[in-house]
Amino acid sequence: MLIKVNSAAVNGLDGYVVEVEVDSIRGLPGQSIVGLPDAAVKESRDRVKFAITNSGFEFPPGYFTINLAPADIRKEGPLYDLPIAIGMLASSQQLKPGMLKETVIIGELSLDGGLRPVNGVLPICMSISGNGIKRVIVPRENADEAALVAELEVIPCDNLLKAAKYLDGKETIRPHIIDIDSLFSEKLQFDIDFCDVKGQGLAKRALEVAAAGGHNILMVGSPGSGKTMLARRLPTILPPLSIKEALEVTKLYSVTGLLSSKKSLITVRPFRSPHHTTSDIGIIGGGRNPRPGEVSLAHMGILFLDEFPEFERDVLEVLRQPLEDGVVTIARALSSVTYPAEFMLVAAMNPCPCGNYMDATKNCICPSFKVQRYWGKLSGPLLDRIDLHVEVPRLKKEELTNLPKGETSEVIRQRVIKARNIQIDRFKEARVHCNARMLPKHVREFCKLDTEAENLLKSAVLHLKMSGRCYDRILKVSRTIADLEGSADIRSAHIAEAIQYRAMDRN
Protein backbone atom coordinates (compact mmCIF):
# COMPACT_ATOMS: atom_id res chain seq x y z
CA MET A 1 0.00 0.00 0.00
CA LEU A 2 1.42 3.36 -1.02
CA ILE A 3 1.85 5.81 1.81
CA LYS A 4 3.05 9.40 1.57
CA VAL A 5 4.57 11.05 4.62
CA ASN A 6 5.77 14.65 4.64
CA SER A 7 9.22 15.40 5.90
CA ALA A 8 11.56 18.31 5.24
CA ALA A 9 15.06 19.23 4.27
CA VAL A 10 17.11 22.38 4.51
CA ASN A 11 19.21 24.01 1.82
CA GLY A 12 21.24 26.92 3.09
CA LEU A 13 18.79 28.56 5.45
CA ASP A 14 15.65 27.63 3.53
CA GLY A 15 13.62 24.58 4.36
CA TYR A 16 11.35 22.73 1.98
CA VAL A 17 8.96 19.83 2.20
CA VAL A 18 10.26 16.42 1.15
CA GLU A 19 7.67 13.77 0.43
CA VAL A 20 8.63 10.32 1.69
CA GLU A 21 6.80 7.75 -0.45
CA VAL A 22 6.78 4.20 0.86
CA ASP A 23 5.45 1.19 -1.00
CA SER A 24 6.16 -2.52 -0.96
CA ILE A 25 5.70 -5.58 -3.11
CA ARG A 26 5.49 -9.15 -1.94
CA GLY A 27 8.64 -11.10 -2.65
CA LEU A 28 12.14 -11.41 -1.30
CA PRO A 29 12.60 -9.20 1.79
CA GLY A 30 14.59 -6.02 1.37
CA GLN A 31 14.49 -2.21 1.27
CA SER A 32 15.94 0.39 -1.00
CA ILE A 33 15.98 4.15 -0.56
CA VAL A 34 15.99 6.31 -3.69
CA GLY A 35 15.94 10.07 -4.29
CA LEU A 36 19.65 10.94 -4.01
CA PRO A 37 20.19 9.88 -0.40
CA ASP A 38 23.60 10.43 1.19
CA ALA A 39 25.27 7.87 3.43
CA ALA A 40 23.43 8.95 6.59
CA VAL A 41 20.07 8.58 4.83
CA LYS A 42 20.97 5.16 3.41
CA GLU A 43 21.99 3.95 6.83
CA SER A 44 18.57 4.81 8.18
CA ARG A 45 17.48 1.42 6.80
CA ASP A 46 19.29 -0.35 9.61
CA ARG A 47 18.22 2.10 12.31
CA VAL A 48 14.60 1.92 11.19
CA LYS A 49 14.64 -1.88 11.23
CA PHE A 50 15.68 -2.12 14.85
CA ALA A 51 13.63 0.87 15.97
CA ILE A 52 10.50 -0.78 14.56
CA THR A 53 11.07 -4.19 16.16
CA ASN A 54 12.24 -2.67 19.45
CA SER A 55 9.09 -0.52 19.63
CA GLY A 56 6.94 -3.64 19.67
CA PHE A 57 5.95 -3.55 16.02
CA GLU A 58 6.45 -6.24 13.43
CA PHE A 59 9.10 -5.48 10.80
CA PRO A 60 6.99 -5.74 7.65
CA PRO A 61 7.82 -8.44 5.07
CA GLY A 62 8.24 -7.82 1.37
CA TYR A 63 10.44 -5.55 -0.68
CA PHE A 64 10.16 -1.87 0.22
CA THR A 65 11.02 1.05 -1.96
CA ILE A 66 11.31 4.40 -0.22
CA ASN A 67 11.35 7.43 -2.49
CA LEU A 68 12.36 10.85 -1.24
CA ALA A 69 10.76 13.39 -3.56
CA PRO A 70 11.77 15.73 -5.18
CA ALA A 71 14.20 13.11 -6.43
CA ASP A 72 16.75 15.48 -7.95
CA ILE A 73 17.87 17.21 -4.75
CA ARG A 74 20.43 15.58 -2.51
CA LYS A 75 19.07 14.42 0.87
CA GLU A 76 21.37 14.63 3.84
CA GLY A 77 21.31 13.63 7.42
CA PRO A 78 19.36 11.27 9.56
CA LEU A 79 16.14 13.27 9.91
CA TYR A 80 14.20 10.94 7.59
CA ASP A 81 14.40 7.97 10.00
CA LEU A 82 11.10 8.75 11.68
CA PRO A 83 9.04 9.47 8.53
CA ILE A 84 10.43 6.31 6.90
CA ALA A 85 9.52 4.21 9.94
CA ILE A 86 6.02 5.74 10.10
CA GLY A 87 5.64 5.17 6.36
CA MET A 88 6.64 1.50 6.63
CA LEU A 89 4.29 0.90 9.54
CA ALA A 90 1.42 2.59 7.72
CA SER A 91 2.22 0.79 4.49
CA SER A 92 2.06 -2.57 6.28
CA GLN A 93 -1.17 -1.39 7.93
CA GLN A 94 0.13 -1.65 11.46
CA LEU A 95 -1.21 1.82 12.00
CA LYS A 96 -3.80 3.90 10.23
CA PRO A 97 -2.59 7.43 10.51
CA GLY A 98 -4.89 10.32 9.79
CA MET A 99 -3.65 13.86 9.20
CA LEU A 100 -0.50 12.78 7.35
CA LYS A 101 -1.27 15.36 4.67
CA GLU A 102 -0.93 18.41 6.88
CA THR A 103 1.84 17.04 9.09
CA VAL A 104 5.58 17.22 8.65
CA ILE A 105 7.59 14.57 10.49
CA ILE A 106 11.30 14.80 11.29
CA GLY A 107 13.57 12.90 13.64
CA GLU A 108 16.51 10.56 13.94
CA LEU A 109 15.81 7.14 15.44
CA SER A 110 18.05 5.27 17.80
CA LEU A 111 18.03 1.49 17.77
CA ASP A 112 15.72 1.30 20.79
CA GLY A 113 13.08 3.40 19.03
CA GLY A 114 13.93 6.62 20.86
CA LEU A 115 14.12 9.92 19.01
CA ARG A 116 17.30 11.94 18.77
CA PRO A 117 17.49 15.67 17.98
CA VAL A 118 18.38 16.77 14.45
CA ASN A 119 19.85 19.94 12.94
CA GLY A 120 18.04 22.66 11.08
CA VAL A 121 14.64 22.38 12.77
CA LEU A 122 14.10 26.15 13.08
CA PRO A 123 14.77 27.04 9.41
CA ILE A 124 12.61 24.08 8.36
CA CYS A 125 9.70 25.15 10.54
CA MET A 126 9.97 28.79 9.43
CA SER A 127 9.86 27.85 5.75
CA ILE A 128 7.14 25.21 5.79
CA SER A 129 4.51 27.00 7.86
CA GLY A 130 1.67 27.84 5.55
CA ASN A 131 1.59 25.70 2.37
CA GLY A 132 -1.14 23.55 3.94
CA ILE A 133 1.21 22.27 6.65
CA LYS A 134 -0.39 22.69 10.06
CA ARG A 135 1.71 20.64 12.40
CA VAL A 136 5.16 19.24 12.83
CA ILE A 137 6.27 16.19 14.79
CA VAL A 138 9.77 16.69 16.20
CA PRO A 139 12.08 15.03 18.73
CA ARG A 140 11.51 16.49 22.19
CA GLU A 141 14.94 18.16 22.30
CA ASN A 142 14.00 20.17 19.20
CA ALA A 143 10.56 21.18 20.48
CA ASP A 144 11.58 24.59 21.92
CA GLU A 145 13.29 25.55 18.71
CA ALA A 146 10.33 24.49 16.55
CA ALA A 147 7.86 26.26 18.83
CA LEU A 148 9.46 29.62 18.00
CA VAL A 149 7.31 29.44 14.87
CA ALA A 150 3.95 30.30 16.35
CA GLU A 151 1.89 29.33 13.28
CA LEU A 152 2.77 25.64 13.58
CA GLU A 153 1.39 23.12 16.03
CA VAL A 154 4.52 21.49 17.46
CA ILE A 155 4.12 17.90 18.66
CA PRO A 156 7.15 16.79 20.70
CA CYS A 157 7.78 13.03 20.78
CA ASP A 158 10.20 10.90 22.78
CA ASN A 159 10.06 7.77 20.66
CA LEU A 160 8.64 6.04 17.63
CA LEU A 161 5.84 4.38 19.60
CA LYS A 162 4.56 7.75 20.90
CA ALA A 163 4.61 9.27 17.43
CA ALA A 164 2.84 6.24 15.96
CA LYS A 165 0.16 6.26 18.65
CA TYR A 166 -0.36 9.99 18.20
CA LEU A 167 -0.81 9.67 14.45
CA ASP A 168 -3.08 6.68 14.99
CA GLY A 169 -5.30 8.84 17.17
CA LYS A 170 -4.77 6.57 20.17
CA GLU A 171 -2.92 9.13 22.20
CA THR A 172 -3.05 12.89 22.38
CA ILE A 173 0.06 14.98 22.84
CA ARG A 174 -0.25 18.59 23.96
CA PRO A 175 1.31 20.96 21.41
CA HIS A 176 4.49 22.53 22.73
CA ILE A 177 4.26 26.27 23.30
CA ILE A 178 7.06 28.66 24.13
CA ASP A 179 6.83 32.27 25.25
CA ILE A 180 9.29 34.22 23.13
CA ASP A 181 8.88 37.41 25.15
CA SER A 182 9.89 35.67 28.35
CA LEU A 183 13.08 34.46 26.66
CA PHE A 184 13.90 38.08 25.93
CA SER A 185 12.93 39.48 29.28
CA GLU A 186 15.85 37.75 30.98
CA LYS A 187 18.39 40.44 31.74
CA LEU A 188 21.71 40.15 30.00
CA GLN A 189 24.27 38.83 32.45
CA PHE A 190 28.00 38.93 31.89
CA ASP A 191 30.82 37.74 34.09
CA ILE A 192 33.14 40.38 32.70
CA ASP A 193 32.85 44.16 32.63
CA PHE A 194 34.59 47.09 31.00
CA CYS A 195 35.54 48.50 34.38
CA ASP A 196 37.93 45.53 34.77
CA VAL A 197 40.22 47.24 32.25
CA LYS A 198 42.35 50.02 33.68
CA GLY A 199 43.25 53.06 31.62
CA GLN A 200 43.14 52.69 27.81
CA GLY A 201 40.70 55.55 27.49
CA LEU A 202 41.29 55.99 23.76
CA ALA A 203 40.79 52.31 22.99
CA LYS A 204 37.65 52.20 25.12
CA ARG A 205 36.26 55.23 23.33
CA ALA A 206 37.05 53.62 19.94
CA LEU A 207 35.29 50.42 20.99
CA GLU A 208 32.30 52.44 22.10
CA VAL A 209 32.15 54.14 18.69
CA ALA A 210 32.55 50.76 16.99
CA ALA A 211 29.75 49.27 19.04
CA ALA A 212 27.47 52.24 18.46
CA GLY A 213 27.77 52.11 14.68
CA GLY A 214 28.61 48.46 14.08
CA HIS A 215 32.03 49.42 12.74
CA ASN A 216 35.02 47.17 12.24
CA ILE A 217 38.00 47.88 14.44
CA LEU A 218 41.67 46.99 14.53
CA MET A 219 43.64 47.20 17.78
CA VAL A 220 47.41 47.37 17.66
CA GLY A 221 49.44 47.07 20.79
CA SER A 222 52.27 45.37 22.64
CA PRO A 223 51.70 42.00 24.23
CA GLY A 224 49.83 42.26 27.50
CA SER A 225 48.48 45.72 26.86
CA GLY A 226 44.90 44.52 27.10
CA LYS A 227 43.75 44.10 23.48
CA THR A 228 42.19 40.70 24.04
CA MET A 229 40.73 41.77 27.35
CA LEU A 230 39.06 44.77 25.70
CA ALA A 231 37.73 42.72 22.79
CA ARG A 232 36.19 40.11 25.06
CA ARG A 233 34.31 42.87 26.86
CA LEU A 234 32.85 44.31 23.68
CA PRO A 235 29.70 42.12 23.79
CA THR A 236 28.86 43.65 27.17
CA ILE A 237 28.30 47.08 25.61
CA LEU A 238 26.43 45.96 22.49
CA PRO A 239 22.69 46.58 22.26
CA PRO A 240 20.49 43.50 22.78
CA LEU A 241 19.27 41.54 19.75
CA SER A 242 15.80 42.23 18.44
CA ILE A 243 13.48 39.23 18.05
CA LYS A 244 13.93 39.25 14.28
CA GLU A 245 17.72 39.34 14.58
CA ALA A 246 17.68 36.64 17.24
CA LEU A 247 15.66 34.33 14.99
CA GLU A 248 18.08 34.88 12.14
CA VAL A 249 21.09 34.06 14.32
CA THR A 250 19.34 31.05 15.81
CA LYS A 251 18.60 29.71 12.32
CA LEU A 252 22.31 29.72 11.52
CA TYR A 253 23.17 27.93 14.74
CA SER A 254 20.36 25.46 14.12
CA VAL A 255 21.67 24.33 10.73
CA THR A 256 25.18 24.10 12.12
CA GLY A 257 23.98 21.98 15.01
CA LEU A 258 25.38 24.35 17.62
CA LEU A 259 22.08 24.99 19.36
CA SER A 260 21.90 23.45 22.81
CA SER A 261 18.61 21.86 23.78
CA LYS A 262 18.43 24.07 26.88
CA LYS A 263 18.74 27.32 25.01
CA SER A 264 16.42 27.29 22.05
CA LEU A 265 16.76 30.95 21.11
CA ILE A 266 20.03 32.82 20.98
CA THR A 267 19.36 36.13 22.67
CA VAL A 268 22.95 37.28 23.19
CA ARG A 269 25.00 38.60 20.29
CA PRO A 270 27.46 35.91 19.23
CA PHE A 271 31.15 36.39 19.93
CA ARG A 272 33.32 34.15 17.77
CA SER A 273 37.07 34.00 18.17
CA PRO A 274 38.47 31.40 15.79
CA HIS A 275 42.10 30.43 16.23
CA HIS A 276 44.55 31.79 13.66
CA THR A 277 45.13 28.31 12.22
CA THR A 278 41.51 28.19 11.01
CA SER A 279 41.21 27.43 7.29
CA ASP A 280 39.49 29.69 4.79
CA ILE A 281 36.58 27.25 4.57
CA GLY A 282 36.28 27.30 8.35
CA ILE A 283 36.07 31.10 8.25
CA ILE A 284 33.86 31.63 5.26
CA GLY A 285 31.85 28.42 5.24
CA GLY A 286 31.65 25.68 2.67
CA GLY A 287 32.49 22.03 2.39
CA ARG A 288 30.90 19.36 0.24
CA ASN A 289 27.60 19.89 1.98
CA PRO A 290 27.95 23.63 2.64
CA ARG A 291 27.94 24.76 6.26
CA PRO A 292 28.09 28.30 7.63
CA GLY A 293 31.59 29.45 8.55
CA GLU A 294 32.77 31.69 11.36
CA VAL A 295 31.73 34.87 9.54
CA SER A 296 28.15 33.64 9.47
CA LEU A 297 28.23 32.29 13.01
CA ALA A 298 29.28 35.81 14.02
CA HIS A 299 26.24 37.25 12.20
CA MET A 300 24.79 40.17 14.20
CA GLY A 301 27.70 39.80 16.58
CA ILE A 302 31.46 39.97 16.74
CA LEU A 303 34.14 38.12 14.84
CA PHE A 304 37.28 38.53 16.91
CA LEU A 305 40.52 37.67 15.13
CA ASP A 306 43.35 37.74 17.63
CA GLU A 307 46.91 37.81 16.25
CA PHE A 308 45.45 39.13 13.01
CA PRO A 309 48.55 38.84 10.75
CA GLU A 310 49.15 35.27 11.91
CA PHE A 311 46.12 34.15 9.91
CA GLU A 312 46.81 32.67 6.50
CA ARG A 313 46.81 35.32 3.81
CA ASP A 314 44.02 33.46 1.94
CA VAL A 315 41.91 33.52 5.06
CA LEU A 316 42.32 37.28 5.47
CA GLU A 317 41.56 38.01 1.85
CA VAL A 318 38.34 35.97 1.80
CA LEU A 319 37.07 38.27 4.55
CA ARG A 320 36.92 41.19 2.14
CA GLN A 321 33.76 40.25 0.31
CA PRO A 322 31.56 39.48 3.35
CA LEU A 323 32.89 42.64 5.06
CA GLU A 324 31.51 44.63 2.17
CA ASP A 325 28.31 42.73 1.34
CA GLY A 326 27.18 41.25 4.65
CA VAL A 327 26.41 37.93 2.97
CA VAL A 328 28.44 34.96 1.82
CA THR A 329 27.45 32.94 -1.22
CA ILE A 330 29.05 29.53 -1.34
CA ALA A 331 28.85 27.93 -4.75
CA ARG A 332 29.82 24.29 -5.04
CA ALA A 333 29.33 21.71 -7.76
CA LEU A 334 26.39 20.23 -5.88
CA SER A 335 24.68 23.35 -4.60
CA SER A 336 24.92 27.05 -4.03
CA VAL A 337 23.80 28.62 -0.80
CA THR A 338 23.82 32.09 0.71
CA TYR A 339 24.38 32.71 4.39
CA PRO A 340 24.08 36.11 6.06
CA ALA A 341 27.33 37.45 7.52
CA GLU A 342 26.76 40.89 9.02
CA PHE A 343 29.38 40.88 11.66
CA MET A 344 31.63 43.39 13.37
CA LEU A 345 35.23 42.54 12.71
CA VAL A 346 37.41 43.09 15.74
CA ALA A 347 41.05 42.41 15.02
CA ALA A 348 43.97 42.56 17.38
CA MET A 349 47.67 42.44 16.54
CA ASN A 350 51.12 43.22 17.83
CA PRO A 351 52.97 46.07 16.13
CA CYS A 352 55.78 43.69 15.10
CA PRO A 353 56.73 40.02 15.59
CA CYS A 354 58.51 40.67 18.91
CA GLY A 355 55.73 42.98 20.00
CA ASN A 356 57.75 45.95 21.27
CA TYR A 357 57.88 48.10 18.15
CA MET A 358 55.93 51.09 19.44
CA ASP A 359 56.68 50.49 23.08
CA ALA A 360 58.22 53.32 25.05
CA THR A 361 59.94 51.13 27.62
CA LYS A 362 61.15 48.11 25.69
CA ASN A 363 63.26 47.91 22.57
CA CYS A 364 62.12 46.17 19.45
CA ILE A 365 64.58 43.50 18.33
CA CYS A 366 62.96 42.78 14.99
CA PRO A 367 64.90 43.50 11.79
CA SER A 368 62.96 46.06 9.80
CA PHE A 369 62.20 43.64 6.94
CA LYS A 370 60.46 41.36 9.42
CA VAL A 371 58.27 44.21 10.62
CA GLN A 372 57.47 45.02 7.02
CA ARG A 373 56.64 41.42 6.23
CA TYR A 374 54.42 41.28 9.31
CA TRP A 375 52.46 44.31 8.21
CA GLY A 376 52.54 43.17 4.60
CA LYS A 377 50.18 40.37 5.52
CA LEU A 378 47.46 42.98 5.84
CA SER A 379 46.62 44.16 2.37
CA GLY A 380 45.52 47.72 1.64
CA PRO A 381 42.00 46.68 0.60
CA LEU A 382 41.57 44.82 3.86
CA LEU A 383 42.80 47.72 6.04
CA ASP A 384 40.55 50.00 3.99
CA ARG A 385 37.55 48.02 5.14
CA ILE A 386 38.39 48.40 8.80
CA ASP A 387 36.87 51.69 9.94
CA LEU A 388 38.73 52.22 13.16
CA HIS A 389 42.41 51.67 13.84
CA VAL A 390 43.49 52.21 17.39
CA GLU A 391 46.71 51.87 19.30
CA VAL A 392 46.60 50.12 22.65
CA PRO A 393 49.78 51.12 24.46
CA ARG A 394 51.20 49.16 27.36
CA LEU A 395 50.30 50.71 30.71
CA LYS A 396 53.05 52.05 32.93
CA LYS A 397 53.54 50.46 36.30
CA GLU A 398 52.12 53.40 38.24
CA GLU A 399 49.08 53.51 35.94
CA LEU A 400 48.40 49.85 36.63
CA THR A 401 48.33 50.35 40.37
CA ASN A 402 46.95 53.86 40.70
CA LEU A 403 44.29 54.33 38.04
CA PRO A 404 40.74 54.22 39.34
CA LYS A 405 38.19 51.84 37.89
CA GLY A 406 36.65 52.99 34.63
CA GLU A 407 33.04 53.21 33.60
CA THR A 408 30.96 50.05 33.86
CA SER A 409 29.67 48.30 30.76
CA GLU A 410 26.11 49.16 31.72
CA VAL A 411 26.77 52.90 31.51
CA ILE A 412 28.52 52.61 28.15
CA ARG A 413 25.83 50.32 26.81
CA GLN A 414 23.10 52.83 27.58
CA ARG A 415 24.93 55.39 25.41
CA VAL A 416 25.39 52.80 22.66
CA ILE A 417 21.72 51.86 22.73
CA LYS A 418 20.77 55.54 22.47
CA ALA A 419 22.97 55.98 19.41
CA ARG A 420 21.61 52.79 17.85
CA ASN A 421 18.04 53.92 18.38
CA ILE A 422 18.80 57.11 16.44
CA GLN A 423 20.10 54.91 13.62
CA ILE A 424 17.10 52.58 13.68
CA ASP A 425 14.90 55.65 13.36
CA ARG A 426 16.99 56.99 10.51
CA PHE A 427 17.01 53.75 8.52
CA LYS A 428 13.38 52.88 9.13
CA GLU A 429 12.68 52.71 5.42
CA ALA A 430 16.04 51.31 4.33
CA ARG A 431 17.12 47.72 4.79
CA VAL A 432 20.26 48.66 6.70
CA HIS A 433 20.21 48.92 10.47
CA CYS A 434 23.44 50.62 11.50
CA ASN A 435 25.79 53.32 10.23
CA ALA A 436 28.50 50.90 9.17
CA ARG A 437 26.11 49.24 6.70
CA MET A 438 25.06 52.46 4.97
CA LEU A 439 24.96 52.31 1.19
CA PRO A 440 26.54 55.15 -0.83
CA LYS A 441 23.15 56.78 -1.33
CA HIS A 442 22.58 56.79 2.42
CA VAL A 443 25.99 58.33 2.98
CA ARG A 444 25.09 61.14 0.58
CA GLU A 445 21.72 61.61 2.24
CA PHE A 446 22.61 61.37 5.92
CA CYS A 447 26.25 62.50 6.11
CA LYS A 448 26.02 66.11 4.99
CA LEU A 449 28.90 68.27 6.18
CA ASP A 450 29.21 71.98 6.82
CA THR A 451 32.04 73.83 5.03
CA GLU A 452 34.43 73.73 7.96
CA ALA A 453 34.06 69.98 8.34
CA GLU A 454 34.23 69.48 4.59
CA ASN A 455 37.50 71.39 4.31
CA LEU A 456 39.00 69.40 7.13
CA LEU A 457 38.07 66.13 5.49
CA LYS A 458 39.33 67.28 2.10
CA SER A 459 42.74 68.20 3.42
CA ALA A 460 42.97 64.94 5.34
CA VAL A 461 42.16 62.94 2.22
CA LEU A 462 44.79 64.88 0.29
CA HIS A 463 47.52 64.51 2.87
CA LEU A 464 46.87 60.90 3.75
CA LYS A 465 46.17 59.82 0.15
CA MET A 466 42.99 58.04 1.11
CA SER A 467 40.87 55.91 -1.16
CA GLY A 468 37.26 56.66 -2.01
CA ARG A 469 36.12 53.82 0.18
CA CYS A 470 38.18 55.19 3.03
CA TYR A 471 36.52 58.60 2.55
CA ASP A 472 33.10 56.98 2.87
CA ARG A 473 34.20 55.06 5.93
CA ILE A 474 35.34 58.24 7.66
CA LEU A 475 31.96 59.80 6.93
CA LYS A 476 30.19 56.77 8.40
CA VAL A 477 32.31 56.78 11.55
CA SER A 478 31.80 60.51 12.04
CA ARG A 479 28.07 59.95 11.64
CA THR A 480 28.25 57.47 14.51
CA ILE A 481 30.29 59.84 16.65
CA ALA A 482 27.70 62.54 16.04
CA ASP A 483 24.93 60.06 16.95
CA LEU A 484 26.69 59.21 20.20
CA GLU A 485 26.63 62.88 21.02
CA GLY A 486 23.02 63.17 19.94
CA SER A 487 23.97 65.71 17.33
CA ALA A 488 21.95 65.83 14.12
CA ASP A 489 24.78 67.44 12.11
CA ILE A 490 28.27 66.14 11.59
CA ARG A 491 30.64 68.83 12.79
CA SER A 492 34.37 69.22 12.29
CA ALA A 493 35.09 67.76 15.75
CA HIS A 494 33.38 64.55 14.74
CA ILE A 495 35.29 64.39 11.48
CA ALA A 496 38.54 65.03 13.33
CA GLU A 497 37.93 62.17 15.71
CA ALA A 498 37.04 59.85 12.83
CA ILE A 499 40.23 60.75 10.97
CA GLN A 500 42.22 60.07 14.10
CA TYR A 501 41.01 56.46 13.96
CA ARG A 502 42.72 55.93 10.61
CA ALA A 503 46.12 55.53 12.27
CA MET A 504 47.32 52.75 10.00
CA ASP A 505 46.68 54.71 6.82
CA ARG A 506 49.13 57.30 8.07
CA ASN A 507 51.96 54.81 8.56
Binding site: R26, G30, S32
Partner: protein, 118 residues
Protein backbone atom coordinates in the same frame (compact mmCIF):
# COMPACT_ATOMS: atom_id res chain seq x y z
CA UNK B 1 35.15 -32.39 0.91
CA UNK B 2 35.53 -35.84 2.39
CA UNK B 3 32.73 -38.32 2.18
CA UNK B 4 32.39 -38.18 5.95
CA UNK B 5 31.74 -34.42 6.05
CA UNK B 6 29.22 -34.65 3.23
CA UNK B 7 27.50 -37.35 5.22
CA UNK B 8 27.41 -35.17 8.31
CA UNK B 9 25.83 -32.45 6.21
CA UNK B 10 23.27 -34.82 4.78
CA UNK B 11 22.31 -36.26 8.11
CA UNK B 12 22.21 -32.76 9.56
CA UNK B 13 19.77 -31.64 6.89
CA UNK B 14 17.61 -34.71 7.52
CA UNK B 15 17.43 -33.80 11.17
CA UNK B 16 16.78 -30.18 10.21
CA UNK B 17 13.91 -31.14 7.93
CA UNK B 18 12.42 -33.18 10.73
CA UNK B 19 12.78 -30.31 13.18
CA UNK B 20 11.19 -27.82 10.78
CA UNK B 21 8.30 -30.14 10.02
CA UNK B 22 7.65 -30.39 13.75
CA UNK B 23 7.68 -26.59 13.88
CA UNK B 24 4.90 -26.50 11.29
CA UNK B 25 7.00 -25.83 8.19
CA UNK B 26 5.91 -27.61 5.03
CA UNK B 27 9.06 -28.79 3.24
CA UNK B 28 8.83 -28.18 -0.50
CA UNK B 29 12.30 -28.82 -1.79
CA UNK B 30 15.77 -29.74 -0.54
CA UNK B 31 19.15 -28.82 -1.94
CA UNK B 32 17.88 -26.55 -4.65
CA UNK B 33 20.73 -25.38 -6.87
CA UNK B 34 21.02 -22.54 -9.34
CA UNK B 35 24.03 -21.72 -11.48
CA UNK B 36 25.63 -19.55 -8.83
CA UNK B 37 23.94 -20.63 -5.69
CA UNK B 38 22.20 -23.16 -3.61
CA UNK B 39 19.76 -23.31 -0.75
CA UNK B 40 19.44 -26.21 1.67
CA UNK B 41 15.72 -26.28 2.31
CA UNK B 42 12.75 -24.47 0.78
CA UNK B 43 9.62 -24.64 2.90
CA UNK B 44 6.28 -22.99 3.49
CA UNK B 45 5.62 -21.38 6.86
CA UNK B 46 2.13 -19.99 6.95
CA UNK B 47 1.93 -17.28 4.32
CA UNK B 48 5.70 -17.15 3.90
CA UNK B 49 7.91 -18.99 1.48
CA UNK B 50 11.06 -19.65 3.49
CA UNK B 51 14.58 -20.34 2.27
CA UNK B 52 16.53 -22.09 4.99
CA UNK B 53 20.26 -22.44 5.40
CA UNK B 54 21.27 -25.30 7.69
CA UNK B 55 24.48 -25.10 9.68
CA UNK B 56 25.91 -28.09 11.55
CA UNK B 57 28.36 -27.84 14.40
CA UNK B 58 30.01 -30.38 16.58
CA UNK B 59 32.26 -27.95 18.41
CA UNK B 60 31.71 -24.41 19.65
CA UNK B 61 34.95 -22.65 18.98
CA UNK B 62 34.39 -21.16 15.55
CA UNK B 63 31.88 -18.45 16.32
CA UNK B 64 28.15 -18.02 16.03
CA UNK B 65 26.07 -19.78 13.36
CA UNK B 66 24.89 -16.49 11.94
CA UNK B 67 28.47 -15.38 11.58
CA UNK B 68 29.06 -18.42 9.44
CA UNK B 69 26.58 -17.16 6.85
CA UNK B 70 28.81 -14.57 5.33
CA UNK B 71 28.18 -12.28 2.42
CA UNK B 72 29.18 -14.72 -0.31
CA UNK B 73 26.99 -17.38 1.24
CA UNK B 74 24.08 -14.97 1.55
CA UNK B 75 24.46 -13.99 -2.07
CA UNK B 76 24.49 -17.65 -3.06
CA UNK B 77 21.25 -18.26 -1.17
CA UNK B 78 19.63 -15.12 -2.58
CA UNK B 79 20.61 -16.12 -6.10
CA UNK B 80 19.12 -19.56 -5.63
CA UNK B 81 15.97 -18.01 -4.18
CA UNK B 82 15.53 -15.65 -7.14
CA UNK B 83 16.07 -18.53 -9.55
CA UNK B 84 13.56 -20.68 -7.72
CA UNK B 85 10.90 -17.94 -7.79
CA UNK B 86 11.53 -17.29 -11.48
CA UNK B 87 11.54 -20.96 -12.57
CA UNK B 88 8.34 -21.73 -10.73
CA UNK B 89 6.70 -18.44 -11.74
CA UNK B 90 5.97 -17.58 -8.13
CA UNK B 91 4.72 -14.03 -7.59
CA UNK B 92 2.98 -12.18 -4.81
CA UNK B 93 4.26 -14.31 -1.98
CA UNK B 94 6.27 -12.85 0.84
CA UNK B 95 9.57 -14.63 1.30
CA UNK B 96 11.93 -14.99 4.21
CA UNK B 97 15.46 -16.20 4.80
CA UNK B 98 15.98 -18.35 7.92
CA UNK B 99 19.12 -19.87 9.34
CA UNK B 100 18.93 -23.08 11.36
CA UNK B 101 21.96 -24.07 13.34
CA UNK B 102 22.32 -27.52 14.81
CA UNK B 103 24.89 -28.23 17.47
CA UNK B 104 25.97 -31.81 18.00
CA UNK B 105 22.97 -33.03 16.02
CA UNK B 106 20.76 -32.29 18.97
CA UNK B 107 20.56 -28.58 19.89
CA UNK B 108 18.65 -26.35 17.51
CA UNK B 109 18.63 -22.61 17.04
CA UNK B 110 16.30 -21.17 14.42
CA UNK B 111 16.85 -17.58 13.37
CA UNK B 112 13.87 -16.29 11.44
CA UNK B 113 14.25 -13.45 8.95
CA UNK B 114 18.02 -13.69 9.35
CA UNK B 115 18.92 -11.37 6.49
CA UNK B 116 17.50 -9.30 3.66
CA UNK B 117 18.53 -8.78 0.09
CA UNK B 118 20.65 -5.60 -0.47
Amino acid sequence: MTKASVDIGRTGEDIAAQYLTNKGYLIIERNFRSQQGEVDIIARDGEFLVFIEVKNYSFRSIGTPLGAVRKSKRESIIHAARTYLFKNKIKGINCRFDVLSIYNMSQFQLIKDAFHVN
